[in-house]
Amino acid sequence: MNKKKILIVDDEKDVLFILEKELPTRGYSVIAADNGKDAMVLAKTKHPDLIILDLEMPDTYGGDVTRMLSEDPETKDLPVMFLTGMFPKEEEGKGGRMVAGHVLFAKPYDIEELVTAIRDLLQAEKTLVE
């Protein structure tokens, strides 16, 4: 079975560094981008199964990336998860918070919860496609 491919987008390279190391230990292959533009390119060329987006980046706002993704026929069905420091952990609830149909995760994240959410989201996608 092919490993699921996750595209991580964050302007903080350290965040990318950690996730690039952590997620493969949980059985995912990871590609990363540190800006919105690259993220769009990677999303279209590398065909990830899921994208984890930072909401606040110097060149692009995460929400804009989502919009661009959803407007592009090639990427419009790509599931998106946000990882952000913009709201406190208390507001996250259990297993992330749904905002406008996307799962929202607060930084700092709990890797177990994050992995569970990734798995659930992919599962849901699979069900949807089938």
Partner: protein, 704 residues
């Protein structure tokens, strides 16, 4: 019977000669009649005249007075009953005896009906009957006449009687009328009399009243004079005292008998008013005002002196003058600038402070127009409090900056009411409030700055926590990576050290989160998402989430909620946060073998949620500061997460946002109970909320 008749016939015959007219054309018959009558044995004498026809008979009856007619009904010029009628016509009174044929008795009866007195049948014992019949006829006629006469007389008497009765009745009527008139007159007279009587009584009463009034009036006058507070002295032309009233006695401190007959001693001139020395009621010297008028006394010209004690009035006047002076001094001593303005904005009075501010004398400012003088304008100020006070009849205030004086003024105006209760002017008080104004401005500035700082602080906390999150996330991840031995194997000691680092990074994360949370609550940016839920479900699920931690610590965690549940309107996420804070706190401060109990009950419009533990407890002196930010006491926590010092502060604020309150009871070494009271949701509120939710859902569905 026979004897009676005979007697009567005898009486007739004694007196009368009977003249008979025989109407008969038959000579045999007439001879027979003549013979019978001539040979009459009765003591009567008959003379018989003969008429041979009716016309002759009528002629005879017209000329001679007969006692009786013997009438044959068959005559040459008349026959039958008609003959009787014709004879009767000539003399209605004449007795007629009809002579009829043998076979004609009916005619005889018919003749009687037509006026004949009797009839005789010829040849039928005529000799026997003739005389008797004649006599009977005469007698009958006589009786008839008698009856008629009697009747007539009776009628006349009756008439007379009737007339007499009528007259009597008339007289009775007249009498009655006269009586009625008389009664009327009597009545009239009686009324007149009683009226006259009443009038008399009234006059009497009036006279009596007048007398009484006169007496009363005299008594009143006497009383007036006696009780008059003004002294009254009557002096004659020579200046000798004639009369003194009690007031005058006391004014001069002499008895009336001591004064009367003595010289008055004061000049008396009609119409003059002078002041004289008297003894006032206190016994000391006093002053009276004396007014003299001309009058009469015992028919002589005299003077009446009226004396009024004006000692007090004189004193009062001095007091008034003093009060006015005192008022003026006070008015002028007030450092506020006071003026009185009439409705035409004219200044009618000013105090010294105001005059000094304009470097003028007070009188120089009087009559000036207030806005011209005070503000240098041609129009009243747009929000002139003086105008407002006159309009509303209420005090008014205004604060303004007076550039010509370079000061801030606080002006207050109060309407002054005249005797009709109308505000025709106002008192205008201007106070220099420059200092206060400056202080206020400074305060305002400081406040603005404080607000700004507060906002900056909020922003800072918010940004800082954002900025802190990413590095925290990296550190956390890095530690995790090493602990997971991804980069390479580590020894146990390294793992212990890194675990310590990990725990503290986690703690730092919680602090950052709490900081952001409290900053959001304090700045009012947190909005509650209220729904109606069963709070018991929420408690149960939170308690079960914390069961593992409790078991790990050896603490018995229990939950006691009503089976039927308690529905309440709240933000479930926030209340869960409250529960988490309280439950985790309790577990943390409860030692192994202890217990934590979460319970819920409804009481008097409130839902009470308690978290009770058998933990270490909190010292009494620490309780008041328990809910402050960054307060951590020496509660000896067991192993586990360290607190942030913000948990209870957040809990308190979240409870307050729900309109509730939190209370704590604690005993050191015995345990602590936190009780959260939330207002119950009434059925009505619940319905409203449900309807709102339904509407929202419907709208959402419709939108989709």
């Amino acid at each position: 019977m026979e004897t009676e008749t005979t007697e009567k016939i005898q009486t007739l015959m004694e007196k009368d000669l009977i003249k008979v007219l025989l109407v008969e054309d038959d000579t045999v018959d007439s001879q027979l009649v003549k013979r019978v009558l001539a040979s009459c044995s009765q003591p009567v004498e008959f003379t018989v005249e003969l008429a041979e026809s009716l016309s002759e008979a009528i002629k005879c009856i017209g000329n001679t007075e007969y006692n009786i007619v013997l009438l044959d009904l068959r005559l040459p010029d008349s026959s039958g009953i008609d003959t009787v009628r014709k004879v009767r016509k000539v003399n209605p009174r004449l007795p007629i005896v009809v002579l009829t044929g043998l076979d004609d008795e009916e005619t005889g009866l018919l003749a009687i009906k037509n006026g004949a007195t009797d009839y005789l049948v010829k040849g039928q014992s005529l000799e026997n009957l003739l005389v008797r019949t004649i006599l009977y006829a005469l007698e009958r006629e006589k009786e008839k006449k008698l009856i008629l006469d009697t009747n007539r007389r009776l009628q006349e008497t009756s008439q007379e009687l009737f007339m007499a009765k009528k007259k009597l009745e008339e007289k009775a009527k007249a009498l009655q009328e006269a009586h009625a008139k008389l009664e009327l007159r009597v009545e009239e007279r009686t009324t007149e009399l009683s009226k006259a009587n009443e009038l008399l009584k009234k006059e009497n009463t009036n006279r009596k009243q007048a007398e009484e009034a006169l007496q009363a009036s005299e008594a009143n006058l006497r009383k007036v004079i006696v009780t008059s507070p003004d002294g009254i002295v009557i002096v004659n032309r020579e200046g000798i005292v004639q009369f003194v009233n009690p007031a005058a006695e006391s004014l001069f401190a002499y008895k009336a008998e001591e004064l009367v007959g003595e010289l008055f001693g004061f000049p008396v001139m009609g119409g003059e008013v002078i002041e004289v020395d008297i003894v006032n009621h206190g016994g000391g010297p006093g002053i009276a005002e004396m007014r003299v008028v001309e009058t009469e006394w015992n028919g002589q010209n005299a003077y009446m002196a009226l004396l009024r004690d004006i000692t007090e009035r004189k004193c009062a006047k001095e007091q008034i003058e003093h009060a006015a002076k005192e008022w003026r001094t006070t008015f002028d001593s007030i450092t506020d600038m006071i003026s009185i303005h009439d409705k035409n904005f004219k200044i009618t009075r000013v105090n010294k402070a105001l005059a000094d501010a304009f470097k003028k004398e007070p009188k120089e400012l009087i009559g000036k127009i207030c806005y011209e003088l005070f503000h240098g304008t041609k129009q009243p100020c747009p929000n002139c409090p003086h105008m407002w006070s006159l309009k509303t009849q209420k005090p008014a205030t205004l604060e303004l900056f007076e550039p010509r004086l370079g000061i801030h003024l606080g002006i207050s105006t109060s309407p002054i009411f005249d005797e009709n209760g109308e505000a025709m002017s106002s008192v205008h008080i201007a106070k220099d409030i420059t200092e206060r104004k400056l202080a206020e401005e400074k305060l305002k500035e400081a406040n603005e700055k404080l607000k700004e700082y507060n906002q900056l602080k909020d922003e800072f906390v918010s940004t800082a926590s954002h900025e802190l999150r990413t590095p925290l996330s990296v550190i956390m991840g890095a530690i995790r990576l090493v602990l997971d031995e991804i980069p390479g194997k580590i020894v146990e000691e390294q793992r212990e050290v890194l675990s310590l680092a990990k725990e503290n990074v986690q703690r730092l994360s919680r602090i950052v989160d709490s900081l952001l949370s409290i900053s959001k609550i304090e700045s009012g940016r947190l909005e509650l998402q209220k729904v109606i839920i069963n709070i018991c479900d929420l408690i149960r699920s939170t308690v079960s989430d914390y069961q593992p931690l409790a078991q790990e610590k050896g603490v018995h965690l229990d939950c006691e909620v009503p089976k039927e549940g308690v529905n309440i309107c709240l933000d479930p996420d926030r209340i869960e946060e409250v529960l988490i804070n309280l439950i985790s706190n309790s577990i943390k401060f409860t030692t192994k073998g202890g217990w934590v109990k979460v319970s819920c009950r409804e009481q008097e419009g409130e839902v009470l949620v308690s978290v009770q533990d058998s933990g270490v407890g909190i010292a009494k002196e620490d309780l008041p500061k328990l809910f402050d930010k960054f307060t951590q006491f020496g509660r000896k926590a067991g192993p586990g997460e360290k607190g942030t010092g913000l948990g209870l502060a957040i809990v308190k604020k979240l409870v307050q946002m729900h309109g509730g309150r939190i209370e704590v009871e604690s005993q050191v070494n015995e345990g602590t109970t936190f009780t959260v009271s939330l207002p119950s949701t009434t059925e009505l509120e619940a319905e409203d909320l449900l309807a709102e939710t339904d509407e929202l859902v419907e709208n959402t569905l419709a939108d989709n």
